[in-house]
Symmetry: C2
Subunit: 129 residues, 2 copies
DNA sequence: AGAGGAATGATAATCATTATCATTATCAAT
DNA sequence: ATTGATAATGATAATGATTATCATTCCTCT
């Protein structure tokens, strides 16, 4: 079984090269621009594979799924509804309380997602739409 | 401007009548079964209106949006990935910590969503798929 | 070199949601 | 009650992200 193919490696490299939160199409386009064209279907499959292997992480937003590096400590996200900026934050206490709440209810949690929506610092000041 | 029409009232009544988390199609089907047929497009528009008015609340899951009563204290959700059961939980401390984290970063939060995924108590015991 | 199995890529299909548009209902003023 | 303006409805088409299909290509092992 092959697995980490050239295309998947290219996707992974691109994600690892920054702190961006990419969607599938952005990745396909960026790879094309870099001379390493990868079909959109392959990008989707590659992302599913990379995520299953724990090599990339993702957040499910309302409209699309976005992927980011996995080699960071666990964190959650604040999404600016004005400019799209995504900011990360980690909070050990919140994590611990979540787990406790799940345990109390007999839930075996396999994951969670906390997303806060609002206006980032810049947009709060600048009065963006 | 009219607003709370018969169809919207019917949607609202149905949602208020239980603790279920409905998606648009379930609502349309249930209304049809109850002799009060409402077109699917009207259900979507009605839900958007009702949510904008604060009359219903929603959670955005990976695949679809689900609506529930708004006349409950704020709470978050645990979703069972085996049976689909949705359980609610409220945690004032988590809420407060979230707000503090946002404030620290200059974020003006307008909302948030915390969803935990895993197996509910029954499915953990019963070994469902 | 050839076979078997997996990955790729172009494209069709799917599915939730939104847009379109003709028709109908509602409200206010006559 | 009739008209007119405005908004809502419902059937259906369109959209957009994601997944499935399938012929072709690529590995890897023999």
């Amino acid at each position: 079984m092959v697995k980490l193919t050239a295309q998947r490696q290219a996707i992974l490299d691109l994600i690892n090269a920054s702190n961006r939160h990419w969607d599938a199409e952005e990745l396909s386009r960026a790879l094309g621009d870099a001379g390493q064209a990868v079909g959109i279907a392959t990008v989707y499959r590659g992302l599913a594979f990379l995520e299953a292997e724990g090599l990339v992480a993702s957040i499910q937003l309302a409209d699309r799924k976005r992927y980011e590096r996995a080699d960071k400590a666990h964190h959650d996200h604040m999404v600016c509804t004005a400019c799209g900026h995504i900011e990360e934050f980690a909070h050990a206490t919140i994590e611990a309380l979540q787990e406790a709440a799940a345990r109390e209810r007999g839930f075996t949690i396999s994951g969670h997602q906390l997303v806060m929506f609002g206006r980032c610092a810049d947009c709060t000041k600048g009065n963006n739409t």
